[in-house]
Symmetry: C2
Subunit: 346 residues, 2 copies
DNA sequence: TCATGTCATGTAACCGGTTACATGATGGTT
DNA sequence: AACCATCATGTAACCGGTTACATGACATGA
């Protein structure tokens, strides 16, 4: 392995000069710089990252804590983050938190033990308090979540608005009996989406039926479960607002099994959330809420880089707004919901 | 930051002794060890990863080069790899190659510049030759690909068999005119899957119609394209074997648009590949080829750890076998294919 | 002419570990 | 008693960079 000393010897200068040339922003005589660069070229020199980190106390790496690696849009998110970071010569270290407070904390400890310069945190297990505390110990940007007291280091999306949009959409289609299938209410985003649902119902002057709110686990199985539950209740539900596409998909699958003869939006209008890439290939194609994931990822990296450079945090808006993708899974409200006990198909 | 010297002072021993206690496998007097451990505990000491790496020339990190972060099963794969590595206190550094030889090479250079102890390489842009060469320069385990000359450092799956299984399945259902929609044939796995298709056709004594082999790009758009193409040709195709679920999904969507009245397997039997988690929620649910991704990921890590420890490579079999998941998208061959020009729906 | 400032460059301490080798204590053998 | 092996521990060189400070060359103004 060629070291900085080899290069210095080859170029006939001191190691300090080589270091300065590598760094780039320190004034060096043009002729000297050229000689050093020639030597670097000739010896195919690449600085030792460890030595550099040890001396400068910076790792040139940022950690990414992902609550659940298989989660929606994670791949899109990570791809964008990786690309943006690499452009700045930062490496990306990934750790998974498995949506569990203890494991997320452990993952952060791990990343911190690896001396990341900063961490992008997508945690849904940790409490706000824990995040605030940890943010004091390391350079942190929080993704997909708004934490009070961590202004300027959160990139989030208005989940309340997402839930609102989804619900208002079916209301506008004439639905009055609308169920809501949420993700685990221990998660902030699930709570906000539900809040949006509540608000939309209230704004439309519709009664809130607490029995029509079902807490799921964000997996497709919950969709099936929700349908079965709503069916036993035989409440006159005509639309379902789901907390994510996965559960919406599960619900639709179950409906197709139970009511093979009925076209789906006629049986039940279903709205998803996340706009996963399969959403437009389901049958019927899924109306869902779309988030600008790539933009959010870029914003997170920008925020992080600003923190790392130590300058003023860029004053840009890091709150994003979801949009509704209207597709076939939602349609006009029928006179009678499929779940209504008076319906002949029962 | 507390250093090893602080701990040494606190415990009244030398830094070497502390280092030995940290290492674990060197004999240290029990009483001394206890004192050191108490000091570590008391000072909440965590060794500086850079210093350690610099001195020992090991990074305790492995890189993961992913050709395409959004690709099938990547999240499952990564989740498993991350968990297995972390258990051994290795960190995971991710770089994306974007399915392009140059960018993959660049990503490897990057990971190597960060001094990873080893790299797990999922590359589909690089040539075998390039991989063989690079494998000489760094500790490498190749994922999802069998490279001649790199025995014992590849974890792969028998794509030929996968293609064979998919094709034989529809043949057994009575289909005789079977199209094949492949991924980019510049990719090894796409070529092998096609090879399996060919073999199955041949084994069944069916004629090979080269016009029924279409090269796609692994995106859903290719599915649509393939259907449109087959339709103009009006060849009497009754089944389609696709190179992945994405394309199969695209094809089915297109079919549903074109022939809204016909149930899908009657119009065309479709087989996918990858068994993505949405496969069983499409309508009809998608018959597809399943790979034991988690097992493969664990095997890759095991192989890597063996290389890192420097011991003998474990003699286990790193070739995996795919299985067919039979679902609704395939059915008995109709008398007349939907693409047959004599059909009345045209 | 000499003090002073500017600029490019060199010297060497430092980051915080690992580890080869030195040291010294202990106990067994002849 | 002298010798040697064994074992736990300490000393200090080393890994390969960064950077504060020193140095020396040259230009400027009094």
């Amino acid at each position: 392995m060629t070291t900085i000393r080899d290069v210095a010897a080859q170029a006939g200068v001191s190691v300090a000069t080589v270091s300065r040339v590598m760094k780039g922003d320190v004034p060096v005589n043009d002729e000297t710089r050229a000689r050093v660069q020639a030597a670097i070229e000739m010896l195919d020199y690449a600085p030792n990252a460890f030595a550099r980190s040890l001396a400068s106390n910076r790792s040139q790496g940022v950690g990414l804590l992902i609550s659940h690696l298989g989660g929606p849009f994670m791949s899109r998110f990570m791809a964008t983050v990786e690309e943006a970071l690499r452009r700045s010569d930062y490496s990306l270290m990934v750790a998974a938190g498995h949506s569990d407070a203890t494991r997320e904390r452990e993952a952060l400890r791990f990343l911190s033990s690896k001396r990341c310069d900063g961490v992008l945190v997508h945690a849904d297990g940790l409490e706000d308090d824990a995040l605030r505390m940890l943010a004091g110990q390391m350079n942190m940007v929080v993704i997909n979540r708004q934490v009070q007291g961590l202004a300027g280091q959160c990139v989030y999306i208005d989940n309340r608005r997402g839930g609102y949009l989804a619900t208002r959409h079916v209301i506008e289609l004439g639905h009055r009996h609308i169920a809501c299938l949420t993700g685990p209410l221990s998660k902030q985003d699930a709570r906000w989406r539900l809040e949006g649902y509540r608000q939309a119902m209230q704004d439309a002057g519709l009664p809130l039926d607490e029995a029509a709110i079902i807490e799921g686990d964000s997996q497709d199985g919950s969709g099936r479960y929700a349908i079965d539950l709503l069916r036993t209740r035989k409440s006159p539900i005509t639309a379902l607002v789901a907390g994510n596409d996965e559960m919406a998909m599960g619900a639709m699958s179950r409906l197709k099994v139970l009511y093979p003869g009925i076209r789906l939006p006629d049986a039940l209008s279903v709205v998803g959330y996340d706009d996963e890439h399969y959403a437009c290939h389901l049958a019927p194609t899924l109306t869902t809420v779309h988030a600008p994931v790539e933009e959010m990822a870029r914003a997170a990296v920008t925020l992080m880089e600003a923190r790392l450079k130590g300058g003023e945090p860029p004053g840009f808006e890091s709150g994003f707004t979801p949009t509704l993708m209207t597709r076939e899974s939602t349609g006009p409200a029928p006179d009678q919901g499929v779940f209504c006990s008076t319906r002949s198909t029962f």
